[in-house]
């Protein structure tokens, strides 16, 4: 299966890149402020959260706007990719019914489009780090393994969600609720360890998103080495999820077209 996966990825990768690019292009073409939205969107949410939680609820994190922005960038990537995956086969019915290709390629394309937006977000993070004169250390290099884990984790989850989304009509409602719950448990706009007594520390480690986001904050903002044990564990879990997801898709994808 690994071999088949590698040849398929090689064969269809340029397709997913082109597909992601045209998807972004369409998004741009169909709005007035076009690509400015990719910057404006996270920026506005960051301002809202900074206002609400910084002033109204008196959060006192150091570099609070950057703290939020890092969390938001990573969360948006995961959230958007996963949400889109639920109905992705149905949305691409026209292509799916025309020619055979491994269906997770659709997810790869979606992932790339969202990764591009996340890259813009992190570009803003860099600007903010300069603006706030945040000291940096060699720990920023952990950026790479953390992002890799996040992508792999998102890919695995999306494959599985895509598979069930084909058959279960109202899965998107369930996914939306689950994601909203996870959003509040992830501590995008508060420090999960400080704000939730007792279980906060566990939540920080055992919620994959919270774990990855706090690792990212550690290495980018606070010059700390992230918790390598949990980064390793979540990487391993992501690999398993991705392998399961791809295996599931390979096994079942032929009947997708009959259901949509």
């Amino acid at each position: 299966m690994i071999n088949r996966f590698l040849t398929d990825i090689r064969k269809y990768f340029s397709f997913s890149v082109t597909s992601a690019r045209s998807q972004l292009k369409t998004e741009v073409a169909s709005s007035y402020l076009n690509w400015i939205w990719w910057i404006l969107d996270p920026l506005c949410f960051m301002l809202i959260y900074t206002y609400i939680f910084g002033y109204v609820f008196k959060s006192n994190e150091q570099y609070f706007p950057v703290f939020i922005f890092v969390g938001l960038s990573m969360w948006d990537f995961f959230n958007h990719t996963l949400k889109s995956s639920v109905k992705i086969v149905k949305r691409n019915k026209s292509v799916v019914s025309r020619v055979y290709f491994p269906k997770y390629i659709l997810i790869v394309a979606q992932l790339l489009a969202d990764a591009f937006k996340m890259a813009i977000s992190f570009g803003i993070v860099v600007l903010m780090m300069i603006f706030f004169k945040i000291p940096i250390s060699w720990n920023v290099l952990f950026f790479i393994p953390i992002i890799a884990t996040l992508m792999l984790f998102t890919f695995g989850c999306s494959c599985i969600v895509m598979h069930f989304g084909v058959y279960v009509e109202d899965l998107s409602n369930v996914v939306n609720i689950a994601l909203r719950f996870l959003f509040y448990l992830t501590g995008i706009f508060y420090n999960i360890k400080k704000r939730i007594p007792d279980i906060g520390a566990y939540l920080n480690d055992f919620n994959p998103l919270a774990s990855l986001i706090s690792a990212m904050r550690d290495c980018l903002i606070y010059c700390r080495t992230p918790n390598l044990l949990f980064l390793g564990i979540w990487f391993a879990v992501s690999v398993v999820l991705a392998v399961c997801g791809v295996a599931l898709v390979y096994k079942e994808e032929n009947s997708y077209l009959k259901a949509v």
């Binding site: 026209s94 292509v95 009509e169 077209l257």
Partner: protein, 242 residues
């Protein structure tokens, strides 16, 4: 190389009633979907020689489109095999193949890539495709704004210009206005005279089949009724349809 381009053996395709269901219906009402199995194609075998044109006839719902999809590899057969001997293949059918939000140009590139062409090859043929499709400036507008005629013209042009070794055509030869029809018919003939090109046509238009095809396959309710020379099969089919 083998002299056959398509070898289909004991092909069976079933549709399970894989209706998508809602969680509410299943969990709250405790209703289970009955699994009904519908056999769309039953035990069909045939071979098509390289360069040959095969016509497929049969009444609506007899499994023609399903069979084409199985040959194109979009469905896996439930049993039996389809051997294409490594030839590239493309399927042309009504109303499929485009992402509605993207422009015609993007769709040409994406469709081409899925058919196994590289970006360079597609860009080389881009002008030719646009010209053949007669879409002009509309090529940069989103496909959702196209009329159904324009839609089909674009689909046909992609398949006709980006030549794959096997072309499967599902009821689309009668698209577009009179002029485009003539043009596509001519193009079809051109492709057909090409020694290396194998074509499978599904059509309800007898004239087309009689005119273009070397052999005809008649299926009814998923079963092979007759496979042979064009005239003999068409005559028998006409008799049946009366």
């Amino acid at each position: 190389m083998s002299e056959y381009a398509i070898e289909v053996e004991n092909l069976c395709v079933n549709y399970k009633s894989l209706k998508s269901y809602s969680i509410k219906k299943n969990l709250l009402l405790g209703k289970r979907n009955k699994t009904q199995i519908c056999e769309a194609v039953k035990n069909v075998s045939f071979k098509v020689k390289k360069g040959e044109i095969l016509g497929i006839v049969g009444k609506n719902g007899s499994g023609k489109s399903t069979m084409l999809r199985a040959i194109a590899g979009i469905f896996a057969p439930n049993s039996g095999t389809v051997d294409l001997h490594g030839n590239s293949i493309s399927l042309l059918a009504i109303g499929i193949g485009f992402q509605k939000e993207l422009s015609g140009r993007d769709n040409i590139v994406l469709s081409g890539m899925l058919l196994g062409f590289t970006k360079e090859q597609i860009n080389e043929k881009m002008e030719q495709i646009i010209e053949f499709s007669e879409l002009g400036d509309f090529i940069d507008a989103p496909v959702r704004t196209y009329s159904s005629g324009m839609h089909s013209k674009l689909a046909f042009s992609i398949t006709a210009i980006l030549e794959t070794q096997i072309i499967l055509i599902d009821e689309v030869l009668s698209v577009g206005d009179a002029r485009f029809k003539k043009k596509s018919y001519k193009k079809m003939k051109e492709l057909i005279t090409d020694e290396d090109r194998t074509v499978v046509i599904v059509s309800h238009d007898h004239k087309t089949i009689a005119d273009l095809c070397d052999k005809v396959l008649w299926i009814n309710d998923g079963e092979l009724v007759q496979f042979g020379e064009t005239e003999a099969v068409l005559a028998a089919y006409d008799e049946y349809m009366k």
